[in-house]
Symmetry: C2
Subunit: 226 residues, 2 copies
DNA sequence: TGTACATCAGTGAACGCGCGTTCACTGATGTAC
DNA sequence: TGTACATCAGTGAACGCGCGTTCACTGATGTAC
């Protein structure tokens, strides 16, 4: 029995144009759904027929790829967070753009990434507490995993390295909440309003600075054993 | 021309059983919609016929009260935040339950209120980034107003009273974000799981304490003129 | 490389269903006298 | 308090529509030889 395509294989195939007709249509369905989300609709209110119409295939062909719309939604969740993880990974290897100020650099990377993947973020924001409960669960788990990644990165700071895990997690939760809030504000702001966006970014940076001020004052429960 | 019923008038009538048939049915539609939201559905995916069926009237009677489902949604938003404001007002006059610890008292009141108005909170959480853009706008505005109220209350603390308004707003935003996050976690947790909920509350309290630790370290832009 | 054939992906007609909305109606409610 | 009447709220039939899903089909793709 041949191993199923790994994500990397799939990406390779897509990038080199070697993907099969089936894979192309499947991708077409995903992109069609995302495109429709741009028109102020939530995924859960999209109909199967709408998506296939947008994708340029007949409704019945949908079933060759997914059994339900919910399955398609799961693919979109996976996709959205895959690109998010890629971003984190590239920051980890290449560092932040303006390495002088960590907070500004982080916010800047996040905002750029939101712009580059606007529809993915819109999808996640809408479905985080939206219609399909299975999508809500997946998204919550992915956001949690994102927080764990962040905690690992933060552990490189000497002071945080001495904190108990729960305290670190508390800090990452606050930071992730702030980032989620940034994303949601940017998505809700009128697109291409640079002034409004700069204001959101400025306020977000102030919030992150404020959070960082509490770090030295926090008394973790017990010092981590060396 | 007679003045339209104020909210207080309406409440008076409802409480004293003097409301007209029309008002009763209108209320019945609101309650029917809320009830349906308990079954893991979002308001935007509710159909007019579902709501009237649940309310025990014929679909066409809906139009005697609302032109669209969106209008009904606006009523629900107004209702949800009205009860929230009542809660704040009662805390303001009666004080917090365990007045020794402000943070614990605040979280406790919030959690109690969420339980007492679970469906309203569920509605707000689902529609905050959900289907109808007019509801999104209303909810955002109401949350903003809630933050302004909180800012007023916080201004009674001497140290915050000397902060510039923007700094106070930044703090309230962080606190409101945390409260919203608490609400969302409690709604997503399995109902009646006391242990899980206690854990959410404990973590929330720690987050609030952490936020408060940054307060003395924050340097506001300019001292407020006395 | 060329052919035969199996599998895979897209087609198009058809179905029954719940939807929002219209309309003319009926009966309940409230008011004027 | 009792009656006449206007207004208001709920009814029930009907409509056209888009929906998800079924089915037998056709043509494209990929594989074995």
């Amino acid at each position: 029995m041949p191993a199923p395509d790994s994500i990397t294989d799939k990406l390779d195939q897509i990038q080199s144009g070697r993907e099969s007709r089936g894979q192309r249509t499947r991708l077409g369905l995903q992109e069609a759904a995302l495109r429709l989300l741009g028109h102020d609709k939530s995924f859960s209110s999209l109909s199967l027929r709408e998506v296939t119409r947008e994708a340029g295939i007949v409704p019945t062909a949908f079933y060759r790829h997914y059994q339900t719309m919910e399955e398609l939604g799961q693919d979109l969740v996976a996709d959205s967070f895959r690109t998010l993880r890629q971003m984190i990974r590239s920051v980890r290897t290449d560092g932040l753009p303006s390495s002088g100020n960590m907070i500004q650099g982080t916010v800047q990377v996040l905002v750029q990434h939101i712009h580059a993947n606007r529809l993915h973020f819109q999808f996640i924001a809408r479905e985080r507490f939206g219609g399909y409960s299975s999508l809500r669960v997946s998204i919550r788990d992915e956001i949690h995993a994102f927080g764990q990644d962040l905690a690992t990165d933060l552990a490189r700071f000497p002071i945080l390295n001495r904190w108990d895990p729960e305290s670190v997690q508390m800090l990452t939760t606050l930071m992730v909440n702030t980032m989620v809030s940034i994303a949601e504000q940017i998505l809700e702001a009128p697109a291409n309003d640079a002034a409004a966006e700069a204001e959101i970014v400025r306020r977000a940076e102030r919030q992150m600075v404020f959070l960082s001020l509490a770090v030295p004052a926090w008394k973790p429960k017990a010092a981590k054993p060396a």
